[in-house]
Every structure is written in C-alpha cells, then in structure tokens.
Symmetry: C2
Subunit: 216 residues, 2 copies
DNA sequence: TAATGTGAACATTTTCACAGCA
DNA sequence: TGCTGTGAAAATGTTCACATTA
C-alpha cells in the first residue's frame, strides 16, 4: 500500500509489535536474575518461534552470541534504543474521566519510560487541580502546551463525540503519535501514527472464538 | 502452526478482527440514518479496501445486493450473529483497582452485548459491596461462581503478580475466553482464547514510529 | 453502467534449511 | 554438538481481474 518512507516501512509493524513483547519478557527475566537467553527460550516464554525472534532481531543488527545466546541486559538496551524508549519521554493525556484517571494511576507508563507531563479536560472542577500528581489544564491550552513543550505523543481518553476534534487539534499542534482509547476510528494524516486500544472489539473476537469452540 | 479445529481456523483472525470494525462502523451509520452501504464506502470510513471487505464478508455468506449494496441493519444482525454478540452475554471482571473500576464505569460493554454480572477482588473493603451496580465477591468464590453461572468469558484486571494464578483458576473452572489487562504474557491451554490489552506496548510502538519519522 | 462475489496474481510473513562458528 | 544469522520455500493475506447480475 505504501511505498515511500523507506526507513520506517521496510521493517514490518508485526516485527515492531514483537520487539515490545521481547523487551518486556527480557525485563522480567532480568528481574529474576537471568543474564543470557537463547532464541528458542523465547518460544517457551512467549509462544513466539525461535526463527521469528532471530529474524526480527537480525533486522536491526547482530545481538546474539553463538555460544551464550543473547545478553539480556544488552538486548534490553539495544531494543530500548531501537524503540526510542531508552530515555524518559514526556507525553500528555487528554480526558480525565474514569479511564483517564485509571491511566494516571497506572505505574507501567513511568516504568517503561513514558512520563505523563500534563493532563487536559473540559471540566471546570478538574482544571488547575493536581490529579495523581499531574496538573490538569483546560482543553483551550492544549495546542499551546504541545507546541511549547514539544510533545510528540498524546493519549486520547475523551468521549467518542469529542475524540476527532481533539485529534485534529493535537495533530495541528505537532503531535506525531496518538494512543486512542475512544471507540472511534479517528482520521489522521499519513504522517501521524495512530494506535487504537479497543477492548470491546477484543471482547467481540473472544466471543467469536468461544462460540465456535462450542460447536466442535 | 495449528491445523486442527478446521471450523474455527479456516477463518483468519485478521478477518474476525475486521468484522468487529465493520459492525461498529455500521452501528454508527445506522444511528445517523444510513440504511445501505456499498463496499467501497467502507474504504472512506475505515481505510479498509473494498476488496478486503467483500472477501471478508463472502466467507460467511452472501450479504450484498448488486444494486443496493449491503443493508446496514441486516448486516449488523448477521455480523452480530457470527460474532456471537447477538444476545446479551454474561461476563465477569476480576480485579477492582483503578482500571477495573474504570471498566465497570464504561458503558461500551453493555452497548455491545456484554454484561458484567459479577466482580471479584481480594480486598475485604470491596468484598460484598456493590460497586457501580455490580456485586463484588471474594476471590475464593471465583471458581464456584464460574461453574454455577456457566461463565465463558472473563476480564482480568489484577496486578501482574496475581494474573497467572487467576488465569489458571478460571481456566480450570471452564472459562474459554480471557481479556487480559495485566502486563503479563499469560500461559493458557490451546483450547482457551486469550486477548491482551497492552497499552504500554502500543505506546512503545508509537515511540518507534515517532522517532523514525524525525529522521527523514 | 456499476455493483457483488470469487478465482488468480501478487505481496507479505512465517517456516524451513543450512552455512558459519564456539 | 548446538547456537546465531540468513537465503529459500511454504503458507498466509491482499490486490487484481472479471464473470455475473440488476
């Protein structure tokens, strides 16, 4: 479909997705004191075949050692660098409803190098307050804030009706990556990367498999 | 990888994923009064090519009319039936922390045919209370509840350390589909379908694309 | 004409096979 | 021997081309 953007597009998005899985697995192994891992051990931990692991990694360089496999610590560093999560990155969260608040309370972002620097809402009772350690700004400040703080990644957790408006604004202000929690297919320019977190859809696919299991 | 389970496996999981996207799009169109749609209009709404739409749908039957395209209402019904979301389905939620509470407050589940019938937690201050309209039971009741109420789909929103234990329990009790919000690669039998909702991973892939965009 | 449904061509992804090395 | 890295083969998924129909 796309042929330009050679740098970005020659690596499959499936590979990039798996890199995030490898890095999480490696961090857990490191935490329990594992220093080296062979590709076939990923199969045991993740259910991903050793061939795929080696193919994925080989696209970014040679990280393995024939006798000792991959050095866990080194590979974490290398993959972090590839993904651009090797040093802390400021992101913003738009929408502080139930879900937004849950995301604020979630420790996983900080642990993996993402810092929610500011939150935005339309609700006067939240604006200018500090929620879970992060200051809440009015939506009217959104574009200025993005420009002044050079924000590149934003999380959208506003209701469906507002999501496209917010997306248009932040894209105009320079955001290049959007994590979208609203159940709407957002339209963004080709130059912006959009990732949807759609758990109702995931429930529906579960439903399909459960239903078709029964028939056998 | 898998060759058995012919019924389930001959339809690609990519197709099933897209069915959920079609159905959401159709519901939105129905809400604004659209009664018929041509396959090429999905391209405009969803960015999915008309060929893919027709191929996907044709695997389940002939839903289209050459002169009028697809009847929106009929197609919603047909796809709902295929996915098994045509009538309400009871599910349970395990873990009522920040995220669990947000999920409880989320209206999207009910709208799409999923009813959270019970919630489970280990925290005494929550047990036997009604939270967001749903009764919270102790984790010790989990397996009995699943068996007695014939629960087939469960949502796991417990901390990472507890997730695998919970997964093992519910699988033993007969759950066939798991929506997992914990940042752990759960191990489940082949006969159980596992879907992960992993937003940190999605943030990391965003980071990759944003970083590689800058280099051009 | 313009749409759906579908077999064939093309592209991508995964799996296999093996060279090179400790 | 048993591992990594990698080109080739197989499997899977997407796009194209067109027969059919209103």
């Amino acid at each position: 479909m796309r042929t330009k953007n050679s740098k970005t597009n020659k690596i499959s998005s499936l590979t990039i997705d798996r890199l995030t899985v490898y890095i999480r697995c490696l961090k857990r192994l490191k935490a329990v004191g594992v220093s080296h891992i062979f590709s076939h051990q990923f199969t045991k931990h993740l259910g991903i075949s050793a061939h795929v692991v080696r193919k994925d990694l080989s696209q970014f360089g040679q990280f393995g050692n024939i006798s000792t496999g991959y050095n866990v610590n080194e590979l974490i560093k290398s993959l972090s660098k590839i993904l651009g999560v090797d040093d802390n990155q400021n992101i913003i969260l738009i929408g502080v409803g139930n879900l937004g608040r849950a995301l604020l309370g979630y420790k996983g972002f900080e642990q993996d190098g993402f810092h929610i620097k500011a939150i935005f809402d339309i609700d006067d009772t939240k604006i200018n307050r500090v929620i879970a350690g992060v200051r809440c700004y009015p939506l009217t400040d959104l574009q200025d804030y993005i420009i002044q703080n050079n924000i590149k990644i934003a999380v959208i957790a506003v209701p469906a009706a507002a999501a496209q408006i917010v997306a248009d604004e932040i894209v105009k202000a320079g955001v290049k990556g959007i994590l979208n929690f609203s159940p709407i297919m957002l339209k963004v320019p080709e130059s912006v990367k959009l990732n949807d977190v759609d758990f109702v859809s995931k429930l529906e696919t579960l439903s399909y498999y459960v239903k078709n299991l029964k028939e056998e």
